[in-house]
Symmetry: C2
Subunit: 175 residues, 2 copies
């Protein structure tokens, strides 16, 4: 392993984002510093109904200053990825899933944070009880045929990394 | 637009990572704080040779404490995404590309940072001149048939978000 940590300092400890400055020996043996961030692991869910449609949500994103179309999902918040996926699906769409399995996992920015995004396929959908939280009151939802959602990835309408990866991975493998 | 910024404060200004704490009005109209990070935009390159093979690189990643297999790429560092893609390809693999076009763009962690990752397909490859930098001295490279690289995404061997998205997007669309 080329990198060695020799010390770590907390630059900022926040509710959602913390920043650390580590002292390191780099792969060439020289001393250096490495700043990195901790944030919650995340989840995204491809929820497919019995007619081959997938549910998408759209919401105001603060940093992008626009509405962003993406799969249901969010932060794990101390839950297992699968528990978080089912909770976020129900909060954001009102749906509970009878069947869920993991499609994969991605490292969104591995040079900046070790946080991962876990990707799920949920089926056997029925109405649930949980509601959106106060930051999600402008969220809207829409259903699209699965291949139309994949086309929305290909044409750049969907760009959120977990949604891009989950939709493309949910396609059957070709041989 | 549901979010309103009322003030911003620099928590930390670093060489690679900066952290801000904004005062906001949330979508429900209540005051709150929103912490976010700025980092370099990034690039990833699917470089395909005339035999249908793609070049992958593997390197020690500090935060993951293991070797990570991914497409050539890195930070834009003030260049345009396409210029950065060609520079990173040459630095990491010694290859220059006669033809390059953009496959797409992803938002790796849009709730945390507005940084984007730009995805390219490069062809017409030939040997170049540039070399790896000091942090990349343990980097190795390997060639795989394109469909084997896609399979490495599907089986979880490749998890870096830009590499996952670029390889899946480089597959021809199915109808």
């Amino acid at each position: 392993m080329g990198w060695v940590r020799t010390a770590t300092a907390v630059v900022h400890h926040g509710a959602f984002v913390s920043l650390y400055r580590d002292s390191v020996l780099r792969p060439d043996g020289r001393p250096g510093t490495y700043e990195h961030v901790t944030v919650n692991d995340g989840v995204r869910v491809v929820a497919l109904d019995d007619n081959g449609r997938v549910v998408l949500v759209e919401d105001d994103f603060y940093l992008q200053r626009r509405r962003v179309l993406h799969l249901p999902g969010g932060g794990c918040g101390g839950q297992s990825p699968q528990e978080a996926a089912l909770r976020e699906l129900e909060e954001e769409t009102g749906l509970v899933a009878g069947d869920v399995h993991q499609l994969g996992v991605i490292d969104p920015m591995p040079a900046v944070t070790s946080a991962r995004t876990f990707l799920f396929l949920a089926t056997d959908l029925r109405p649930g009880l949980r509601r959106r939280d106060a930051t999600e009151i402008g969220m809207t939802q829409q259903w699209r045929q699965f291949q139309d959602a994949v086309e929305a990835v290909r044409n750049g309408e969907i760009t959120e990394a977990g949604s891009v990866a989950a939709l493309l991975l949910a396609q059957p493998a070709r041989r």
